[in-house]
Amino acid sequence: MDESPRGGSREEAEAPEQPEGPGAGRRSDADDHWGVDAAIGAASVAARTAGGVAGAVGGSGAGRAVGSAARWITRPLSRQGEDVRARIEDQAAPAAQEVLRQVTPGVARAVDINAILSEVDVDLLLDRIDVNRVVDRVDVGRVVAKVDVDALVSRVGVQALIDRVDVGALIARVDLNGLLASVDLQALLDRIDLNALLASVDLQALLDRIDLNGLLASVDLQALLDRIDLNALLASVDLQALLDRIDLDALLASVDLDAVLAGVDVNAMVQRIDTDALVANTELGSLVARSTSGVASEALDALRSQGVGLDSVIMRVVNRALRRDLAALPPGPPHLTGPPLALPAPNLELDRAPEGHEDEGVAS
């Protein structure tokens, strides 16, 4: 019997009386079987003593001689005993099996498996198992080879599995920069036959699926243009070569000059011409002089200009005497003093004047 402090029966026997727990049950069993335990103990002591004596006797030369003689004398008995043991093995095994078959259900019913398992210290049991050694002894390859992976996978609800996966968290845990940094993109692209790839793409169908208007509406063209160095772009253009390729005659033939001229404000353009400089510094002046020269016209111009000059002097005196604000005085009728001087006013005068009134463009 194990008499270690963790052993149990003696300690439990000496322990103070406890109303409950497994220790109380064991002490009761020891009290009930003290006779059997004493007999087993005595037999054990006798066996160890006999073993020691037999060892001491058998190890000697006399002992070995006696042993050989005893085996020769008991050979018939041995043969008979062997036959009996063989018959027992042949006949007793079925009987024992029958007995066990009939007894086992009753024993199983009698045994409280839960109580037995509750007595087992599973942690202690597992601590005693060297899991690595167990795993090392397993031929994983053979185990896997016996698994029907297809059948196993077909039983897996992949969609439900994917639904349970937090893809966002999964991606967040991935260091994409590090991943991409480790990828040799050039080598990857070298392995791709882009021509073959693009040849297999139905670009028309792809474009049909794209809302180009919406796409362009979302593009900030101004920001895009701001990023373009137009000067550098134009500097790289061979304008001469570009112009050489243009059929200017055909281009001009396609231009509706009437429509272009209809959009030109000729009056505004004429107003930008310095007519005085044109007459004074070109042959046009000589032409005007030859066509209009004459004492009469010169005298008339002088007469009119002198009259206007005298008017101006008189009105300046009168306005000063009356203390008038010259800027506040109306220069002329409202329909004639809007636009500036000395140019025809087609929208005003020519449209309203009856025949005979448009002979001298009334300056307005």
Binding site: S286, S293, V308, G309, S312, L322, P333, L336, P354, V362
Partner: protein, 178 residues
Amino acid sequence: MTATEPRGPTDAVSLQGHYAGPVTRLLGYVVDQSLVVALFAAGTALVVWGVSLVTSREVHWSVSAWVTAAAFVVWQFSYYAYPWAVSGRTPGMALVGIRVVTAEGDPAAPRHAALRAFALPLTFLTLGIGFLPILLGRHHRALHDLVGGTTVVYSWDARAARWRFLARQQDAGVAHPV
């Protein structure tokens, strides 16, 4: 004609369409009235000569002064009203470069011309007071202008005069700052 003071054809360019001043208008009126008298006299002389030619007798203008005055008034009315209605200017006004327009600057209609020609003698009947607004008024409108709803503005072809002036300067070899 308010802030600008013209000194010649080049400066007068900027005054086109502005109210005409008293000197120019007086000059035009003098020319017109001279023409009215001269043409009336020539007309009566022509009538007398025609009658003498037809009757082979010496004929003298011996009709009543009232008839003569009435004929003169009618003639003067026609002389002024018709040109104003047609072109806005009489020969005298055309000579000095002015024309009659409405108070707003539109071409004068026959109605305006007739009223103005009818009111012109009335302005004289006020002993000249009816002309004072030409000098003192903000819009330089005389009594007959107020009656006819008209005014007088500069309207000679200053652009052509300007070019003629420059051309003459160029022809004479005078460098003119443009």
